[in-house]
């Protein structure tokens, strides 16, 4: 009878399902002999499709509108910029071949490449650059990140077909490095006019890959731009890519994402969780690529609007009592680096001398709090004027990069010096932090290419600025303000680095913050994939990628 056959088939396969987990290891070792891990041949292999699993979905592929790093990883392949920032922080030519800065630092003249065209055939020229930048400052575009990067841009003048003058409201030394960021990519004016609001679903640029198709929640496909011949200095292959196609798959669940690389269903996957890093290192078929992102590390900010955190002594006591090393080692199993400064390593002006400068000293921390008049009560919590010494530690939900767990460890550590930490995990960071400033300690990070990023965070804010959203430290220091202002306008590179070193030292000395970790961007890839590299900000580059 049919039914009986069916039941046999099902029962056998169900029994297999239960038994197979036990045989799993023997199955995986069988394939290890297939490993071929030779050095890449002199001539990279042409053709093939790279499948690359992303952790989250891009919101839009319009560089001027998107605010997500994951979107940047995709549209970096589609759009080029005027300049590129090299690993040493220097600015190098890309779509612009050379440039001059006016004496007052308020205007730039760029010479553009004459041999470039957009994927839709539109010629690339000064008009296109002007169109792109004017588009960003047009409120109708609803630019967010791109707009803040382009500021203090005022206008562009087309001097010749391939010469453009850009005018700024005030001098900005961060301007060139901002121009290298992918949100300031140059878009095709004809395509923007054609697609309007839907340009983010139909992006057209001059990049090494052309947009093909975006099936929501399935994949985004880009194909080789065969005309490409203007690669920047941070890739070896300046011409057309070796790959025929890249297919970005969106795989939010991390176990599935890593499993898909191990099963060969995708060739590469981003954002490897710390617990998988060790096992992937031993996997003969998989390689692990890691690059530290640059900008502002994950940093805990004291809210200096609140008592007693407006007092440098109280902040220093906390600084001495938090054992950042043990937090980072416990939670990230040696896969994240500890940070020491308000800036990450690798950014211009990073002060290496701060490394190791803060040491845990519980006795000293206790002494400081004693001096401030906080006495330990019977429950071990310090009290002054009948009020317990509490610290309101706010963090957002979901638990991104285990940040909620950091709060729990800090709670335990500060107990040792008699501070009661109240952890408040909220879904509504926008109102708790940025509208009401209702926190004593809150952590955040930012990817950025220039130390000028410090100014937006640490400079004293005007009441008008505070009305829009509250600044994180909520403090004010004239000396620091001066340093940050000088940093924005100083044209001499060496002097500028000195200024930012002083600013970093001041921020740490006055215990404005507790820097915690530098976020590494990780990629797990099959060993058959060669040549994945990263730009200065940690975005993947596919110009040199080939598949064996």
């Amino acid at each position: 009878m049919k039914l009986v056959n069916w039941t046999k088939v099902i029962s056998i396969s169900m029994a297999l399902l239960l038994l197979l987990s036990g045989c799993a290891n023997s199955a995986s070792t069988k394939n290890s002999s297939a490993e071929t891990n030779k050095e890449a041949d002199a001539q990279p292999k042409q053709g093939g499709e790279l499948t690359y699993a992303l952790a989250t979905s891009p919101d839009s592929l319009d560089p001027h509108r998107s605010g997500l790093a994951v979107a940047g990883r995709v549209f970096r392949t589609i759009f080029d910029n005027l300049v590129i920032q090299a690993e040493d922080g220097s600015i190098q030519p890309w779509l612009a071949t050379e440039w001059t800065v006016s004496e007052d630092g308020k205007s730039y003249i760029f010479q553009l490449r004459a041999d470039v065209k957009f994927h839709d055939g539109t010629p690339f020229n000064a008009e296109a650059v002007k169109f792109s930048f004017d588009r960003i400052i047009d409120p109708k575009t609803k630019s967010g990140n791109a707009l803040s990067l382009l500021r203090p841009y005022v206008s562009s003048e087309v001097l010749e077909e391939y010469t453009i003058k850009i005018n700024l409201a005030t001098p900005s030394t961060a301007f060139l490095s901002n121009l290298s960021q992918n949100q300031l990519g140059i878009v095709s004016p004809t395509a923007v006019e054609k697609y309007g609001d839907q340009f983010g679903k139909n992006p057209v640029g001059t990049g090494p890959f052309k947009f093909v198709n975006w099936t929501e929640n399935a994949d985004i496909q880009v194909e080789k731009n065969s005309d490409y011949n203007w690669g920047p200095s941070n890739v070896e292959n300046k011409g057309k890519p070796y790959l025929d196609k890249i297919s970005f798959k969106i795989v939010p669940e991390e176990a599935t994402r890593i499993g898909s690389v191990q099963s060969g269903q995708v060739l590469a996957a981003e954002t490897v969780p710390p617990q998988n890093i060790a096992s992937l290192k031993n996997d003969p078929k998989t390689q692990l690529l890691t690059v530290n992102t640059i900008g502002l590390p994950y940093t805990l900010f004291f809210n200096q609007r609140k008592e007693p955190w407006n007092n440098v002594k109280a902040r220093q006591a906390v600084q001495l009592a938090i054992d950042v090393d043990s937090i980072v080692k416990t939670l990230y199993l040696g896969t994240y680096e500890r940070s020491w400064s308000p800036l990450t390593p690798g950014i211009v002006g990073y002060d290496k001398s701060l490394e190791g400068s803060v040491k845990v000293d519980i006795d000293k921390a206790n002494k400081i709090l004693d001096e401030l008049g906080y006495e330990k009560g019977s429950d071990g919590i310090r009290v002054k004027d009948g009020k317990q010494l509490t610290l309101n530690y706010v963090d957002g939900s979901p638990n991104r990069e285990k940040r909620n767990d950091i709060a729990v460890i800090v709670q335990q550590q500060l107990k040792r010096i008699g501070i009661k930490v109240e952890i408040n995990i909220t879904k509504d960071v926008a109102s708790v932090i940025y509208t009401n400033a209702d926190y004593d300690l809150y952590g955040n990070s930012q990817v950025n290419s220039d130390p000028n990023a410090l100014r937006a965070i640490y400079h004293t804010r005007t009441p008008e600025e505070e009305a829009v959203f509250k600044g994180l430290p909520g403090g004010s220091d004239t000396e620091l303000d001066q340093l940050l202002e000088q940093g924005t306008s100083e044209l001499d590179q060496a002097k500028r680095e000195e200024i930012y070193k002083k600013a970093q030292q001041k921020i740490i000395k006055d215990a404005w913050i507790i820097p915690i970790y530098v976020f590494p961007y990780t990629v797990a890839a099959s060993k058959t994939v060669n040549g994945i590299t990263f730009d200065a900000l940690g975005y993947p580059l596919f110009n040199d990628v080939s598949i064996e």
Binding site: M1, W6, T7, I10, S11, M14, A15, L17, L18, L20, S21, C23, A24, A27, S28, A53, T56, S57, D59, S60, G67, P139, K142, G144, N145, L147, S148, Q198, K201, T215, E216, N217, A218, K249, I250, V251, P252, E253, A255, T256, R257, G259, S260, Q262, S263, G264, Q265, V266, T426, K427, D428, A430, S431, V432, Y434, T435, A456, A467, V468, F469
Partner: protein, 310 residues
């Protein structure tokens, strides 16, 4: 009450449920903590104009009843608004992705019935034999394992180690196997227990003894007579289960990186894209109400006792 009256009554109750859920869905925007507009834009780049524009775009500067009646009238005309993230209209997006979710829901339901009934019956017939023990273990696993966990386990076994089936994607029947198995196992667990118990009850009833005494073969007794009677409670479970399956797609579509409306709503929640969340939740409520209406009505046709009870 005549059958026609009863059907009409059920349909009108369903309509009331739909109106009720539309009110609930619409209120989401007010139930959220804090200002919905501020939570939707990145505060570090927000300007007062951007905030004001978005407030206007969402109609939040109007009184509640005007907002609601506008929303409801628009919904009646098939306009669920547009995404605040990429300005796409919501309904076409749902319509485009719903078939994938429907396919997953149906295969999961079918799998849970096939696995559940098969093992339920076998386990009752071979009570306390090895097959009964296996069936009960599967039942226990299905009920107690969260789908995201069983999903990951299935990927590990069938994709990573055996390399038989794809771990991600939503094109072709192969990509449906693991997700619907992991989603269907939950229902299967319940059905196994249900069918096993009711089979055991039925087997002990006197009419079975009579049938055996009449000399019918054991196979005919079990499959034609006992199983038929044991299936009625299983149908109840299947009806209730459709809602669970629909809700389960949110997790499963994310784990297996499939397309579908579950995935859309998960992404929209992450992006705080209110119009999309409202649209999908409301659409799912309608689907759920309609399916339950059908299941409700089908009882009357399948089980004569239910018909008589009314």
């Amino acid at each position: 009450m005549t059958l026609v009256n009863k059907v009409l009554l059920k349909i009108s109750t369903a309509f009331v449920s739909i109106i009720g859920s539309s009110i609930l869905v619409f209120s989401i925007i007010y139930l959220l903590p804090g200002d919905p507009v501020l939570s939707m834009i990145d505060p570090s780049v927000a300007t007062p104009e951007m905030v004001a524009n978005l407030r206007k775009e969402l109609g939040l500067n109007q009184p509640f009843y005007i907002q609601f009646s506008e929303y409801f009238m628009n919904v009646l005309q098939g306009d669920f608004g547009q995404s605040v993230v990429n300005s796409e209209p919501v309904l076409p997006k749902i319509v485009e992705h719903f078939p994938a979710t429907l396919a997953l829901t149906i295969t999961s339901a079918v799998l849970s019935v096939v696995i559940g009934v098969t093992f339920g019956v076998l386990s009752a017939i071979y009570r306390n034999k090895w097959i009964d023990i296996i069936a009960r273990i599967i039942g226990l696993f299905g009920i107690s394992m969260p789908t995201f966990w069983s999903g990951i386990l299935l990927i590990l076994i069938f994709s990573v180690y055996l390399n038989w089936l794809p771990s991600i994607g939503s094109d072709g029947w192969k990509t449906l196997v693991l997700p619907s198995l992991s989603l269907g196992l939950v229902g299967a667990g319940f059905i196994i227990r249900m069918v096993r118990n009711s089979m055991l009850d039925v087997i002990n009833e006197q009419f079975i003894v009579t049938l055996r005494a009449k000399g019918l073969s054991e196979r005919v007794v079990m499959y034609r007579h006992a199983l038929r009677n044991a299936l009625i409670p299983a149908i109840t479970i299947i009806g209730l289960n459709i809602g669970e399956l629909l809700a389960g797609t949110v997790v499963i579509e994310t784990v297996f990186s499939r397309q579908g409306i579950g995935r859309i709503v998960a992404d929209a929640i992450m992006a705080k894209d209110l119009p999309v969340i409202q649209g999908v939740v409301f659409f799912s409520a309608i689907v759920y109400v309609v399916i339950n209406l059908l299941v409700d009505l089908s009882y009357s046709f399948i089980d004569p006792r239910v018909r008589r009870a009314h």
